[in-house]
């Protein structure tokens, strides 16, 4: 026999309504309160916390992404500027170099021209000098020869005229 149904102690009737009814109503609400306090409240708190954390993570990720995009844009901008600057520098350098080389060339040309001119002038002077020397020498030589040939003194004026004639003849030769 099942020990539960031993009838030694007093028992209630199988189907009655008594104070247990009130007790069970109270028990149900107490149980509801206990479940609310010990299961729902802590679990919902932790779920809310997790939700908040997930939201925060997503927000942070979004912010980080935006920041990265901004940095990238800035970097690209900088790169573009740097490239432009480099191009500019290159262009300037090229222009400068061209200008400088042109100047150098011009200077060299002018210098060369000057040197040439000077050389020509020197040559001309040398020639003139040589001609003058020659003229003097030939003059005295001619006078000597002539004196010896004609054995007479030619007047200084004639003399000079004669020589100039001669020299001009020589010079044109």
């Amino acid at each position: 026999m099942n020990p539960l149904f031993l009838t030694e102690t007093a028992t209630q009737d199988l189907v009655t309504i008594n104070w247990t009814f009130i007790a069970q109503i109270c028990n149900l609400f107490i149980q509801m309160f206990l479940i609310k306090k010990f299961l729902f409240k802590p679990v919902r708190e932790i779920l809310a916390k997790r939700q908040a954390k997930a939201d925060a993570d997503i927000r942070e990720a979004k912010e980080a992404k935006e920041e990265a995009a901004a940095i990238k844009a800035e970097y690209e901008q900088n790169m573009l500027e740097a490239k432009e600057k480099a191009n500019e520098l290159l262009a300037t350098a090229q222009k400068n170099a061209t200008a400088k080389s042109d100047e150098l060339l011009r200077e060299a040309n002018s210098q060369a021209a000057a040197i040439k001119q000077k050389a020509e002038a020197d040559i001309a002077q040398e020639r003139r000098k040589a001609v003058n020397e020659l003229k003097d020498e030939i003059g005295s030589m001619a006078m000597e020869i002539a004196g010896k040939v004609i054995e007479r003194e030619i007047s200084e004026k004639d003399h000079t005229k004669l020589i100039d004639e001669f020299i001009s003849n020589v010079g044109n030769a």
Partner: protein
């Protein structure tokens, strides 16, 4: 062998100086109350155990179970009642937990609190008050009373009857199932003990006398039957009671 199926044992009696109609003049602390408190302790202890050391990430198995239970309660209640009934979640959960633990604690050899009509009647009256409250809230007190005369005034007695049938039906359905399980179980125990005595009584002499006193057939065989009468029926009735509670209350709110 006589089989006595009686109500819960009475442990302590508090005499009241006055008589309360229907409930009587003395409060008896009985098996139902005691086991109910044990059930409540078990449920609350389980809640506290499951929600210890809750963490936001890298959660333990215990916490996963706790979160799963909360989610289950949410889904069951809101799924049956709609999203506007969030405040009923703890009530339905308490009802379900108390019902299922009360039904299954019978497996430990004690008397289920649900094998006492007081328990189910208490729950059903609470649900009935909630249903009525929702009805009055949705259509006003006049509208609620007018609802009894629809579709025609002649139907009023039947409407009142059907309204009262709701809590009575809920309570008796649950109580009847658990009580019948209890009755059938005790019948099976007694029958198997008698069969055992008859079988081993066939043995001659003192050996037969000794062995026939031990109910060998009571080992194992009732466990198989208890799969239906205790486990299936217990879980099913808890589920049905909560299902009806949610459906009735949400239907009442729709007016």
């Amino acid at each position: 062998m006589d089989i006595n199926i009686v109500g819960p044992k009475v442990y302590w009696t508090i005499d009241l100086p006055f008589e309360v109609p229907l409930l009587g003049g003395k409060i008896e602390i009985n098996e139902t109350m005691l086991i109910s408190w044990i059930v409540m302790l078990i449920i609350t202890g389980l809640c506290i155990f499951l929600t210890r050391n809750l963490k936001v990430e890298n959660i333990s198995k215990r916490q996963a179970i706790a979160e799963w239970l909360v989610e289950l309660a949410d889904n069951f209640t809101l799924g049956n009642m709609g999203p506007n009934f969030k405040k009923f979640i703890p009530f339905v959960t308490a009802l379900f937990a108390t019902s299922i633990f009360s039904n299954l604690i019978g497996l430990l050899g004690v008397r289920s609190p649900t094998a006492d009509l007081n328990t189910e009647a208490a729950w059903a009256i609470v649900v009935f008050i909630m249903i009525t409250h929702q009805k009055i809230k949705s259509s006003g007190f006049g509208g609620y009373l007018k609802g009894y005369t629809e579709p025609i005034a002649v139907m009023t007695p039947f409407n009142i009857l059907s309204e009262l049938a709701t809590p009575i039906g809920m309570a008796c359905r649950h109580f009847g199932n658990i009580l019948s399980g209890l009755v059938i179980n005790s019948l099976i125990y007694a029958a198997l003990a008698a069969a055992s005595a008859a079988l081993f009584g066939l043995l001659p002499g003192a050996v037969g006398e000794l062995l026939s006193g031990i109910p060998f057939l009571d080992v194992g065989i009732p466990a198989v039957l208890s799969v239906y009468f205790d486990w299936f029926s217990g879980v099913m009735q808890a589920f049905i009671f909560c299902m009806l509670t949610t459906k009735y209350i949400s239907n009442a709110a729709e007016g």
